[in-house]
Amino acid sequence: MTNFRTFILGLAASFGLPWLCLIVLPAMQYEQLTPVAYDKDKDGVEGFFPPAPINGQGQLVYIREGCNQCHTQMIRPVQLGLDGWYKGWGQDQEARPTTPARSNVLGDYLGEKYAFLGIQRVGPDLANFGFRAPDKAALYQHLYSPRSVHDWSTMPAYTGLFKVQKIQGPVSEHAVKLPKKFAPAPGYEIVPTPEAERLVEYLLSLKKDYPVPGQSAAVAASPAKK
């Protein structure tokens, strides 16, 4: 029986070490993390980091639809990929930014129960989508009929998040504007459901490029004022 016991001990020890170091201790440390206050002299801004929470209600729709199968929310450093240099993928929306968008840090996801970093990158990264997002009408159009925006798009049309209804009185101000080919039958209009509205609020709240306290303040804080 001693043999059996040593064997089980071996199994426990070989797996227990990575379990402890990689899961338990980092998780315990993470639980201690709290929002950090900016230092106005050094960082040039006030308040706490991360400054803006994401829209949690809208995230539920994002989760439900499995958007993270195709969209990541993670900017990699420039030595790993082009992410930081993509046009508009950071806070700086200049045509040719002088510095790349910063890669993400643990604190960026502080308010989220689980960070949807993504599985594959079939579509563009959404970590800083809020900075580059078009107006809501364009977003609704993209969600309702991606192919009316790009004919090569492989994004599913989330028609389930919209309602086709008969126009009664004046056309609703929220009605989705579509090119002729994709437009509903005459006399009908397409309006977003509350779920679509929440999802759009969430997408607009994705802004993870705020300056990190005490880190690369020059890079992160400057582009906004120009």
Binding site: F15, G66, G111, Y114
Partner: protein, 495 residues
């Protein structure tokens, strides 16, 4: 299983009787798991076809919100992992452990069947929930929260008797390495499963660390559950059928312990360059590459064991599947190393290459080994032989071609996607190049899953006929080639 040759006839007879008694004792639960697993495999491959089509042509079958790619893909993977993978693994583990330790399953059979029923009902609910929009979007844990305690309880219902058998084992000639692997799988899976679920569902929220834990969970389940079961089956069946002992005990032991030591460290490299502390992703990447050591050791050992017995690979269905499964073990190790190493991993990050690893380890390696095991086990439990050589052959070739296509195409697609994503010329462009260039690869993925679905249709049909007792009534096993089977297969192979 050889004893002193004093009274060979009576000994052999006693041995055969003992084996028959063991087989009879585990018959119900094992056949139940295999049949249900085969149904889930069928469903999962069909969902795989559909998901791949939806990734190319999202308007296929209309804009129905229940079958968008974001819901189909998790349903496909969950059916493959929990419906087929773990169920089939439990069946193989239970049978091999009973045979290896020479123990009959004493009592608790109805508990095992009940646990199996609950497992299947829970997964049915879980997968319907994903499609209905209750997904958690946590990779491999997409099924809603309520699922995991039930799954855990059902798993433990099986793990306990397996461990008990090991404890009570009658061991005249020491233990074979396959039992180490199976016991390891029994022991590690609940640990990994509880850790990931408690961390992601019960703790107040771990942000980006949670994403790291999820990546770790996927790799730990593959490397410390599916791989041990697969390798355990290979170590059991190759000597059994070729009649040769395992080439090297030292290699076997080194292969086992290096896997045990490295398996728990890897996974987080999926998010290299991300918000996780850099040391965590680096350690994962290191372990991912170092895992080539256990993979190589085991591969070498298998190679040395089958050396000179390749004619039985052609003849015995079991050995053929096991042999190709064993070949895919080094392949999956290489894919993991490719995804992990910094100089290739940065390019293939967030591409199909990661899907290639999941599929090659789950289907190419693990499932092929389990098919081999099933072709050996089921005739002994159902009391009849496989009906048709053609069905087995088709199952084999369509699976091999299908999985080969998926792996090669996903790797090339991964490389292409990485190049498109990171090409500096694309800095101000839309994702058109990226989407259009990866289209042919996704189409090939759909075709490959179709081949695999077709092969699994035949497998399921064949298995159902066997379970219904409609197989061939014969004392000679169904072999794929009859020319030289007398020489190739020693008598023990049929026991």
């Amino acid at each position: 299983m050889q004893t002193t040759p004093a009274t060979p006839d009576t000994d052999l007879q006693a041995d055969n009787l003992r084996r028959a008694a063991i087989d009879k004792s585990v018959k119900g639960p094992v056949l139940f798991l295999f049949t249900n697993g085969a149904f889930w495999l069928m469903l999962s491959t069909l969902l795989g076809v559909l998901a791949a089509i939806k990734l190319v042509e999202p308007e296929f079958l209309g804009d129905c919100q229940y079958i968008t790619y974001g819901r189909l893909q998790p349903a496909h993977i969950n059916a493959l992992v929990y419906g087929w993978g773990i169920q089939a693994a439990l069946g193989v583990m239970l049978w091999i452990m009973a045979r290896r330790s020479g123990q009959e399953l004493k009592g608790g059979k109805s508990l095992l069947i009940t646990a199996g029923v609950f497992w299947n009902i829970t997964i049915t609910f879980g997968i319907i929930a994903i499609l209905m929009g209750k997904s958690t979007s946590i990779e491999w844990l997409e099924m809603p929260k309520f699922v995991w305690p039930v799954l855990l309880a059902c798993f433990l219902c099986y793990a306990w008797p397996i461990a008990r058998m090991f404890g009570r084992a009658f061991r005249p000639e020491g233990f074979m390495v396959s039992t180490w692997y199976i016991l390891g799988a029994c022991f590690w899976f609940p640990w990994i499963f509880i850790t990931a679920n408690v961390a992601l569902h019960c703790l107040p929220g771990l942000g980006a660390i949670g994403a790291g834990i999820d990546a770790w969970y996927i790799h730990a389940v593959i490397l410390l559950f599916f791989v041990p079961v697969g390798v355990g089956a290979v170590y059991y069946f190759i000597p059994k059928i070729t009649g040769k002992p395992i080439a090297s005990a030292q290699l076997a032991s080194a292969g086992f312990w290096s896997l045990a030591i490295l398996g728990g460290w890897t996974g987080m490299q999926k998010y290299m360059g991300g918000p996780l502390p850099a040391w965590m992703t680096s350690v994962g990447a290191c372990a991912g590459v170092l895992l080539l050591i256990p993979v190589g050791l085991v591969g070498l050992n298998h190679h040395l064991t089958t050396l000179g017995k390749h004619s039985s690979v052609a003849a015995s269905p079991t050995l053929r599947f096991i042999f190709f499964g064993a070949l895919f073990y080094p392949v999956s190790g290489l894919v993991l190393a490719l995804n992990s190493a910094f100089w290739t991993g940065a390019n293939v990050q967030f591409t199909q290459s990661w899907y290639a690893f999941q599929v090659v380890s789950l289907y190419g390696f693990f499932s092929m080994c389990v098919f081999g095991a099933i072709y050996y086990i089921v005739p002994r439990l159902s009391g009849c032989e496989w009906l048709s050589v053609r069905l087995i052959r088709n199952h084999f070739w369509f699976s091999v071609y299908g999985i080969g296509t998926i792996v090669i195409m996903s790797l090339v697609a991964g490389w292409q996607q990485g190049v498109d994503l990171n090409d500096p010329d694309h800095w101000d462009q839309t994702f058109m190049n990226h989407v259009v260039n990866s289209r042919p690869y996704v189409v090939s993925r759909a075709v490959a899953w179709t081949l695999i679905s077709f092969s699994n249709c035949m497998f399921l049909l064949h298995l159902l006929l066997m379970v219904a007792g409609l197989g061939r009534r014969s004392s000679a096993p169904t072999l794929l080639e009859h020319d030289h089977d007398d020489q190739a297969l020693p008598h023990e192979a049929h026991a």
